[in-house]
Subunit: 324 residues, 3 copies
């Protein structure tokens, strides 16, 4: 589809959240189709996890987004989908790879939303494909267990914060879940949640550096808990780390099922977004350093630095591999 | 993409206007891409005409719309695009052809919106394809000239109208053209206009028969005049004819460029929409007869009857041909 | 236009904010058209004030909203517009008056947004109409001056609040102003701001009473400061008063022009919204009493009580007058 002014910031760069939403919609369609391809109970595929996603080049208003999706692995109860997004300038014909994302879906019964159904197995062209898929499956399973544990954190408000501190740029929004945000089962589409998360993370980044910013990458996101129609969701973001030219923002999604349900507010999703600041010519700009004040802020900064260095090392290893 | 509650009426049937908008977006992308495929001035393809379109089967919330487009003819200054829409139930795997539409686009220079550029010719697999395309091209050209003349009509309000008269169901809406309604050239997308026209026609139909209604077909629509960002558009509809099970509604679009331009309000588009009324089981229901009062209303009723009988005769001829 | 699922809450009642947005759009169109009706500099009418608006009856999904607007007074630099909203059930034909609103607009030059142009005078049918209009004009002018002074207040966050306290239900959201939120001059439509204000107020009300709630009325709103494209706006709401069956919520809108402008965050708008809680049958329900803790909260509660009693007295006077 053609990118509109509403999909972009005032510099004309399409929001990362718009792209994440398109990716998730493509993934939900292909995996729901696959899981219903055999006779048996009908189901809807629900997003369980998105692997780390890099935004390789910015997309602009007026360009056409081409989204293609393929199922690359199936376990007994989950489907791995690979989605590629190409941006196409239909005036010049130029095409660029914008995103490569890997998503995991789980089929939930239409009759009983708490029942996970079995996934019809796919055929692999080569035995190694299955083995590699299985390895990826085991890795993400482990990672999901880990993140389930570090979910208690809350973003506390700060009165009269200094510029460039954590409290200065932290932001949150509330959103009442409407019918168009939801699947047939009445639960929020993962893509809708990710779009709101990117919106908050982008505002945190812009408040910190006061320039034009774009999403550079999103760390793996796990969707532990479903969010129901009629909930109010609170999406909060705080900066955790800055390198010379990038900012890492942690985003929480909390759901408040306050109408006709006795349940407490709960943490539904959390993730790390990385943003860069761009000049008018599209070059990355230096970013003001984050000022950490409390012990917790300093600890989170060090953890963010660890993630940053790890990613950098991985990328260099890949480039060396590619050069050989 | 997946059909959402907002794309549909309260009975769950997707609005014809939503489908027309998707069709036009696909047509605009493929024809803009084609017209820029040769070196030369950049351009944007603008919708000039949509041929008569039938809605073969209703689409529902939760189904996926698959839209495919193909260029089927090029004249020196215009492109004919054929768009097919399939509705796919991803739970059952069932697919149905929903629409087959033919659209004509004209490439306008990005630098000078009043300059029509030349279209790169396409290759035809067989000589007959080119000849048939040329015939369709000549036919639509003639038809566009004709409609250009009957555009002076205005819908006047009626005080205390009786049920089932023309005045009783006639309706209009105004819309302020915003940035997301527009192409790169700052003119309203044809698809946006068609969606508003379908909305008004649907309200006219529902007011007349007070049941669940769906778009059955749209007569050829000619886009004589562009509509610019910042205009206010008035979309008005009145019923012109009823058969036993269908209603014909005439819709006008008038543009009011009241800011920063000295121009008068002008008629931008007009078209005939046909609606049917559906029972809860999806069966067509009888429709109350339209009560005509003035001479003009009687004349328009007869003209509508003429179009209805002509379409019916054409369809029977096609069915006989198919049966042979 | 037809009310869609996204225009309403999960009980099917259309959000007050959706209606306020339609009202403002109609007012902006009619007043911009009027102010450009004479030769001279082009302009866009900007919303300066909305008088107190009552929501007389709820509107539902599937109903058609009929909005009509009329210019009722012009001063040298401002236009008074009266807007009526009728809800029409197109299946039964039943029509109900939903809202009667009065709005004030000011024409701003398209070339220089800080220049207020002169308004072409309208003709009055009777001299008394002009005199009454002038009286309304003077009254609102006075009121605008007053509210300009009480704007310093800030909503501070509360840690671990008790149910039914002010801190428990207070809420805020952030919104990045996009192109579709703005007029031709690049400033946020008043209607967009009112819709966000109603969204926050509704969430505050729902958090307090945990039932289905609808907007009952909005006090006069003054738009002192324009909000520019690219700003982040923070909309915050807190409950100030509860009667047996109604809740009053104060809403602030602050604008943060953080990209490419040196300006500080400023208060753009503030207003009081009144909500009622409805049972499944549409009857008003009792509301839990607001627990006030600080001196400021107690003072605001008393002020809210004053407004409540004043409105009640006015309504009784009107009913007695109508009965005579």
């Amino acid at each position: 589809r053609i990118m509109r002014p509403d999909d972009a910031n005032i510099a004309g760069n399409v929001h990362g959240g718009t792209i994440l939403k398109m990716i998730e919609e493509a993934g939900a369609i292909i995996s729901t189709r696959h899981c219903n391809s055999q006779a048996g109970e009908s189901c809807v595929a629900a997003l369980a996890r998105v692997e780390r996603t890099d935004f390789l080049s910015p997309m602009c208003i007026g360009e056409v987004a081409n989204v293609s999706a393929e199922i690359t692995y199936t376990s007994r109860h989950s489907v791995e989908v690979q989605v590629n997004v190409m941006s196409e300038n239909i005036l010049t014909g130029a095409k660029k790879l914008t995103n490569k994302a890997t998503l995991w879906y789980v089929p939930l019964s239409l009759k009983n939303v708490n029942k996970v159904l079995e996934v019809p197995p796919i055929q692999y062209a080569r035995k190694e494909q299955e083995d590699e898929g299985k390895k990826r499956y085991e890795e993400q399973k482990l990672d999901r267990l880990e993140t389930k544990q570090r979910n208690g954190d809350v973003i506390l408000p700060v009165i009269n914060p200094e510029p460039h501190t954590v409290g200065y740029s932290q932001s949150s929004l509330i959103h009442l879940v409407g019918p168009s945000d939801c699947t047939l089962l009445g639960f929020v589409h993962g893509g809708v949640t990710m779009k709101l998360m990117d919106e908050v993370a982008g505002i945190v980044a812009a408040r910190h550096c006061k320039t034009n910013i774009v999403t550079a990458s999103v760390d793996a996101i796990n969707f532990h808990e479903k969010i129901k129609k009629g909930c109010v969701i609170t999406v909060s973001g705080r900066m955790t780390f800055t390198s010379n030219k990038s900012m890492e923002i942690e985003v929480f999604v909390d759901a408040d099922p306050f109408v006709d349900e006795p349940r407490e507010r709960y943490r539904a999703v959390s993730a790390f977004f990385t943003y860069v600041s761009l000049s008018k010519e599209g070059k990355p700009l230096p970013v003001p350093q984050l000022l950490t004040e409390t012990e917790d802020e300093k600890r989170r900064f060090e953890e963010g630095k660890g993630r940053y260095l790890q990613t950098k090392a991985k990328r260099q290893a890949q480039m060396q591999q590619a050069a050989q």
